[in-house]
Amino acid sequence: MPPQITRLVYLTLAIVAVYFLARGFLVPASFGQYGWYRGNALKEIAALPIRYAGRAACAECHEEAAERLAKGSHQGLSCEACHGPGAAHAEDPAEAAPKPENSRFCLRCHEFNLSRPAKFPQVEADDHFPDQKCAECHAPHSPMQAPEDASKRNAKPVKK
């Protein structure tokens, strides 16, 4: 074998050996556990913090509100759709409870918009008692009923 070739073959072998050795050291341990990726990534992603506790969690402590909600037209809504993320509060009730900010938030869902499905109940904000707060007439947890608070009982929403 001519020296040119043997030298090059040795060089190649050395490079290949270094490559495999480097692989042995640098490929993460869980790589390939489930597929061509780091198996531990699944656990890492699964361990990220949660901010929305879920309807069931709220219902555990707020039975009354949950029951009321389940009976009215807002039954499909999750508490946190209106209240916002509450995992911190659900973990520790001393944490400030999530509260809907103002009555604009009702309009987020109910403001009239042409693109909304026609059967969805919508109101023209400017025509539907613009001077009053929604909650004066609609109990948020059961919107077709007047709020329990007597002082707010100005009108009683009735189905047409």
Partner: protein, 404 residues
Amino acid sequence: MPPELRESLLEALQHVQGYIYPNDVSLGWSVVIVVYPYITGLVAGAFILASLVRVFHVKALEPTYRLSLLTALAFLIVAPLPLLVHLGHPERCYEVMMTPHATSPMAIFGFVYAWYLMAVLLLELWFDYRRSFVEWAKASAGFKRLLYRVLTLGVEDVSPAAIQLDEKLGRFITVIGIPSAFLLHGYVGFIFGSVKANPWWGTVLMPIIFIFSAMVSGIALLMFLYLVISRLRRVPVDMGCLRAIGTFLLSALVLDAAVETLDWIHRLYEAEESLEVLVLLASGKLFFSFFLVQVLLGTIAPLAMLGATQVFKERISLRLQKSLYLVSSLLILIGVFAMRWNVVIGGQLFSKSLRGFTTYKIALVGQEGLLMAVVLMILPFLLLIGLVKFFDPWNTRETPPATT
């Protein structure tokens, strides 16, 4: 998030036309990624010019043989830098080699690159220069001597038989090198051509277009370098060599233009869902860089000039011919850059919703800014100067007569 980026994206948002997917406002790949296929293309083109001498025995090109190899090497060394610079986590780049995902064209890059650098270019240079290394080692002392000796890999046999073997093996490597050069750049085309999500990129012709444009740009670069270096070295230009390069350049350019035209005919004829947005793209956002720079300045004008040098060979003065070659090689270099720009940036200007366009405002500084791109473009030329100094392609170095 970085405030400058925020500002510039907010401004881009102001200039969005039509409807784009919200994540499509910012361009993931910037001007740095334009430089990447441009540089790899120059490598492949330069190498193919070199192989014309070695494999196809085009004697006229002899004066540029070594220069072509060194140019290919200089640009090849810089080729992965744009990618590296662009990575969000450059410190993790070793993963591409350690756990390459077999279905990803980008993962294969590491291996194609390593193959091309080590198995093709360096080997070819080694076989070509081994004898010189041995001679230079004898003629120098100290560190330099050590360096040259290491470069010989300890093979110091310069008997005619050994040199002949070098010659033979070198040719063999070049033969392997041609498909490898096609692979290197065809694969860069494949990075774009394989993106089916993007109708501007996702065509089977993309690798072929990239190969031809690579040849065009690489040959043009060598023509340019040859003219400039001859002037710098104050040696007369070998007109036969220049003409030969010119002929190859013209043929490559014709092929390139033909394939790209074919691509457009195909798109227009098939008229897929995406055609509307692509036509709007080419005639709107890319009008300047596509029609004016790539097509008119980068293709039609050099075609006419190179054609003229062929047709009126006898009737125009050498001086004029040289200027025509110089200007057309420059125009082609600019045109191919514009082509890379149109592919990389153009492909991200329209949204994959096929309903609208975003804008690209090139940043001046920063990891992916204009300055970085300019530096990356200058770097290979500096390297080339170093390589030319070191490898001495024109045998100007004094070597003592071989004493064996």
